[in-house]
Symmetry: C2
Subunit: 441 residues, 2 copies
């Protein structure tokens, strides 16, 4: 089979480092007329078109996206593919919302056909929104994991997912046991982790729905498979936190439950962390445990306001990515998520600039998941997942971006006003996997 | 000239009363297969298709929008048409934002040609988003008002607007004087109020940019023209409130400044009111002074969280409408505004249901402006301004709305997930003024 080769031309934007912690002039890369060359799914060259044009492989015609912005594909560090059908469920905060909507919908994923259809829709929506990697919850049923990974394997997407572990405080039909949860997870992990571009995430839902025995088993699995991710929730809602305290009276707090069972560390992504204490944040920093900031969800469920500048305190910075948290989140778009992250930060008088926001949505997410050597960057050697953003996607956006005076301003306008229409195309492993103008509507 | 006649068929939704204060079963009207008949710009019949089909005028073929939702046109009770060009301006709270962006942009409206082009874009965006009436600030220059009203007259839109009054604390080029502000406003009011469907709003920007003399003159103008509206800002930001206290030490607070100069009362719409005290809210209720709730703006500028349930306290309910507050707001869409209003309410654990949200965006806005006898309703006799919402506007929306089980749930999903694409068509005075599928993109 001949090598896969492609090239695109446009404004390139990516990150070499974390702009919260280093000089943005060093961290942020912008190439005004850039060229990206991809071979066999990897970026082989990224830089100035004039300098690199000689290196375009014979027979390859670069796709030119004039004035468009090409960034690494967006990374959604917290989402539930099995909740795609219940976006915009009215009226509750976290615990009621789980009981009334989520636990009903997730039972449908016992049906593999239902799961397969949902997985296809989910991947379509990710790509339509420029998201090339997600860390997603599945349902408790192994077939819900198989359905997703079959779909992502077919599409060659870099996807991380896992079966939910839940052995208490949920409807019987959704419960596993400490033993079956461990065995099913292990079998799925061995089947899928490293198959294609798939990654397995050990996925206890959250402390209240796992017994100590199940958390213990999750810790065992994590020690046995240190390359796998760990994905759960923490400190989203004050009622939830009180509940955890009552369920685990011997632990010092919510985070300490996970810590006690060996679930923290590199590759562990905890969703929300809205109400983490300063000492809990310090413990996350110390262990390289990451937080997925999910602003549309935190607002929709009234959970509270995550303080990104506290999380990124240079004295003990956390790894932070952005999450849509569909179905409590309200949009698959990481642009919409950046918009809400900006607003949440503004409420504490912290102006989250566009360079930091795009970092969180790309390299920051990859670092949170511990896969920044593979995705989240356009540096040669990285996997060629990227998104092409159209500054003229709507009449109003075209009018506004016509007067931007810097790449930073342009990125900010795209974040605040953008949506799926702003995504002109999404490339996965060097191949166009979504094209706005030819997609079925 | 023959009478203008038209008819549309679809699901009808409107309000007979305020669902915050009365039984929603009484306040909320839903007709599953409805027919709306319009003649000479007015609704002449609204109800069940089967019952009303006999009354379709000869020669009129109803436009059928199967499964679509037809509501009164949205009413934007606070917006700045002259700030359309500066949506998504990065990084400041209110006062800095005014100085850095707004006061620069508004100077461009000294140029009538610039103003005319902006007015056309503004009206296009309103209609694209289903908004048929807005209460908008213009710039200080009379020609910026003429430009807008010329455009709205041509389009036969029910529009309320006024020249900004500002005689201190702004760049010289933007200042009038107490005398010229009064005279220019009076001339504009006499030229435009009641011309076509236009309404004039006496428009002091906010207390800090008007001298006592100018506020006195505004009060005089209001007494001379009691039919005109009054449009200003109040208690948006805590820094602003402190500034007002220092500028008007003899007044009891921010609202009292306006009260003292006779600016409150029916037809007065104060934007924001985020930080109004309980006694200020009581005074607004007592005087029938309305508040424009602008959630996307309050989040974008980090101004704070408006408590709609406090404002609608049945013991002393305020008139409340929704405002986009473009350019500090981030979307022209009242659907997006409802989504953010829901989120802001959730943060205080108040679930703002879809019936209340759509009321705020339609009849509530009309009541806030004191024009509910004319717009904001599909009751016969009202002006035939309405919007046709498409539950299948995007693949994800189609999937989600296919499983809604009530009109309330459908409206909620449209509010949370909707955008300009959801607006299939917008009718002004019985005629289609925007059609999504034929509009230039």
């Amino acid at each position: 089979m001949p090598a896969q080769r492609s090239a695109v031309r446009g404004q390139l934007v990516w990150f070499r480092d974390d702009p919260f912690l280093t000089d943005p002039g060093h961290a942020f890369v912008h190439v005004d007329d850039g060229l990206l060359i991809c071979e066999d799914g990897l970026v082989t060259a990224a830089g100035d078109y004039g300098e690199l044009r000689e290196r375009i492989p014979a027979g390859v015609e670069p796709v030119h996206y004039p004035e468009h912005v090409i960034t690494p594909g967006f990374i959604d560090t917290h989402v539930h593919y099995v909740q795609t059908g219940i976006i915009a469920a009215f009226g509750s905060q976290l615990i009621d919302w789980l009981n009334h909507y989520t636990f009903v919908e997730e039972q449908r994923f016992a049906d593999a056909a239902y799961a397969r259809e949902a997985a296809a829709v989910f991947c379509d929506e990710l790509l339509r929104n420029g998201t090339t990697t997600a860390l997603t919850f599945c349902a408790v049923y192994p077939q819900s994991v198989d359905a997703l990974f079959e779909e992502t394997t077919r599409r060659n997407m870099r996807m991380a997912a896992g079966k939910v572990l839940m052995d208490r405080n949920a409807p019987d039909a959704l419960l596993d046991t400490a033993r079956t949860g461990y065995e099913d997870s292990k079998a799925l992990l061995e089947r899928w982790h490293g198959t294609g571009r798939n990654l397995y995430a050990i996925t206890p839902r959250f402390a209240p729905t796992s017994t100590p025995e199940q958390l213990e088993a999750a810790g065992t699995l994590r020690r046995e498979h240190p390359g796998a991710l760990l994905h759960t929730h923490v400190s989203e809602n004050t009622g939830e936190i009180s509940w955890v305290r009552s369920l685990f009276p011997d632990r010092r707090g919510y985070l300490d439950v996970y810590d006690h069972y060996g679930l923290l560390g590199p590759g562990a992504v905890l969703a929300h962390g809205v109400h983490l204490t300063a000492s809990e944040r310090a413990r996350c920093a110390e262990t390289d445990t990451a937080i997925a900031h999910c602003p549309t969800s935190n607002l929709f469920l009234g959970s509270g306001l995550f303080h990104v500048h506290d999380a990124k305190d240079p004295r003990r910075p956390l790894r932070v990515g952005l999450g849509t948290d569909i179905g409590a989140g309200t949009s698959f778009s990481l642009l919409a998520t950046m918009n809400e992250a900006y607003k949440v930060a503004e409420l504490s008088n912290y102006p989250l600039d566009s360079v930091k926001a795009f970092y969180l949505a790309t390299l920051g997410g990859a670092q949170a998941m511990g896969i920044d050597d593979r995705v989240g960057s356009l540096e040669p050697g990285h996997e060629a997942d990227f998104v092409v953003l159209d500054p003229r996607a709507t009449p109003l956006l075209a009018r506004r971006t016509a007067r931007t005076e810097s790449i930073e301003e342009l990125l900010f306008v795209l974040a605040v006003m953008g949506d799926d229409r702003t995504v002109r195309a999404t490339y996965v492993a060097g191949e166009r996997a979504h094209d706005r103008d030819t997609a079925a509507v």
